[in-house]
Symmetry: C2
Subunit: 309 residues, 2 copies
């Protein structure tokens, strides 16, 4: 029997809605902060269209403000990082003495932001390998994958992170608690940095990009820089660059015309998560003496492209 928790979802985009629905279906008590989907979900509940089988939750606890949610045991953060100036305000009403916070946001810097306000001991982070998007209000599409790797911001393999692993696994979400969250975050960046940026800049999906030798070569060169940036950090164990890169390219080749989130953000004229995925990683690499000149060029080009619009 896994523990039952009060869970609050902040940033209920596709990721928040999907993981929230899976947890709720497994018996967890989930409350969602909603905006776009609020009315539809209150009226008709939440419909999940999943490669693993569709399901419908008729009764969903959706709220318009974090104050209405109130204190929970676990806050799951799925907010886009470009909205991080809202983060503390949105999370605070959900926190009481024993609450902990799991941020599944992209890139680096999110745990730091939360820890500065709520204390390192409350903070866990995770990287989500999830292909999902929102449909019309009240609908979420799970297109594939879904695994979460999570760990303590303060490091080490805690009881608490093992417990979250169990809760997600019980809910049908593959989950692995890891001792080195920093390493997991950098490993995710090895994929995110080339593919999010190149696909957004060129408006080409992963298959279009990798079909061309110069696209594949450029992605690989960027990955190499990120491996070196990550391995310059104080990791418990170094990343095996060549093997990791080969596996990432192999997995990406299996994806069929996948559009990374930043490409979709650009298509839909939203802001891009440039600081979390580029700015802060570049800064953290530099702090440990690693330069990533091609990554820096991609970051500059994305910034130049963004403010033009």
């Amino acid at each position: 029997m896994v523990a039952k928790m009060r869970i609050g979802i902040i940033g209920a985009g596709a990721l928040g809605l999907y993981y929230g629905a899976m947890l709720q279906r497994s018996g967890q008590q989930v409350r969602y902060l909603l905006r776009r989907d609020l009315e539809a979900i209150r009226q008709n509940g939440l419909q999940v269209h999943s490669v693993n089988g569709d399901f419908h939750l008729p009764k969903v606890a959706g709220f318009a403000s974090p104050e209405e949610i109130g204190p929970v045991d676990l806050v799951i953060v799925g907010l886009k990082t470009f909205a991080n100036q809202q983060l503390i305000r949105l999370v605070r009403p959900l926190i009481d003495k024993q609450s902990c916070i799991l941020t599944l946001q992209n890139g680096l810097g999110n745990e730091e932001l939360l820890a500065a306000e709520f204390g390192t001991e409350r903070i866990l982070g995770g990287v989500a390998f999830l292909c999902s998007n929102r449909g019309e209000p009240g609908h979420v599409h799970h297109l594939g994958e879904g695994k979460i790797r999570l760990g303590e911001f303060g490091g080490g393999l805690s009881e608490r992170s093992k417990q979250l692993e169990e809760i997600f696994s019980e809910a049908g979400v593959p989950c692995e608690a890891v001792a080195d969250l920093r390493r997991a975050r950098w490993e995710k960046l090895i994929w995110n940095i080339p593919f999010n940026g190149l696909c957004a800049l060129l408006q080409q999906d992963t298959s279009e990009l990798l079909a061309r030798p110069e696209g594949r070569c450029l992605a690989e060169q960027l990955m190499k820089e990120v491996v070196a940036g990550g391995n310059a950090q104080p990791l418990r164990e170094k990343i095996d660059g060549p093997a990791f890169i080969e596996r990432m390219l192999y997995l990406t080749d299996q994806m069929d015309h996948y559009k990374p989130s930043m490409m979709i953000d650009r298509e839909e004229r939203r802001s891009l998560e440039l600081e979390a995925i580029y700015g802060i990683p570049l800064q953290q690499a530099k702090e440990f003496g690693a330069e990533m000149p091609l990554v820096e060029m991609l970051y500059s080009l994305l910034r130049l492209g963004e403010e033009k619009e």
Copy 2:
């Protein structure tokens, strides 16, 4: 008294039409290979709209094929380099024993191509600093600048190149014969490589690009790589990188929302001159042991962007 020459213009875009018109006005016998402008020019002559004063040439020797032009003393080549597979076929009918060829095309590799067919001794090259564009058929606009630096492909300051300097100068085109054409070509690349590529990729003009610190910084980093690539070549005298870059940035800041030719080519959905401005310079830098990784990334991004369309 300067020499009178029979001159044939191959590739009569804005550059070819403008220089041809200036030479013709000064008394040279100029024949143009025309396509788009042929009918208009045959009917109404050529109208030059110039910052230095407009003028009209009522009688212009325009032809539809190089065979109709026949042998000349000097062939001036203004063809876009992406059409270079046509170059030899278009130039050959203009060549007889004493003909020489001056290519004012962009980038590297054009003299080599001509020399392989017609012999090194016939070939001169020049870099043109000209802001011009075509208007409606029969009209050409000279927006500013216009200077040519030319020299022997075989190197050295020849009598012939001094004579061409005189002919252009007499025609109102500032011209300087140089002993080291290779150096002049690399100096031009220090501008062309950052500004053509960045402006084409981002669809921003030089003022938009340089208004942003990351745009200015990126342009400067690219320039530094090109300086190093150029200085790795067997030049008679090294390029003073910092001073040259500072001057280029200063001059570019003076230009008001200038659109480099590659940006216009992209806007108008023409091919881009990627081989002459990126591919061959990268290859020549490598031959002399110089890497230009940021230039290579820009080249890859431009190729990826181009074939998408």
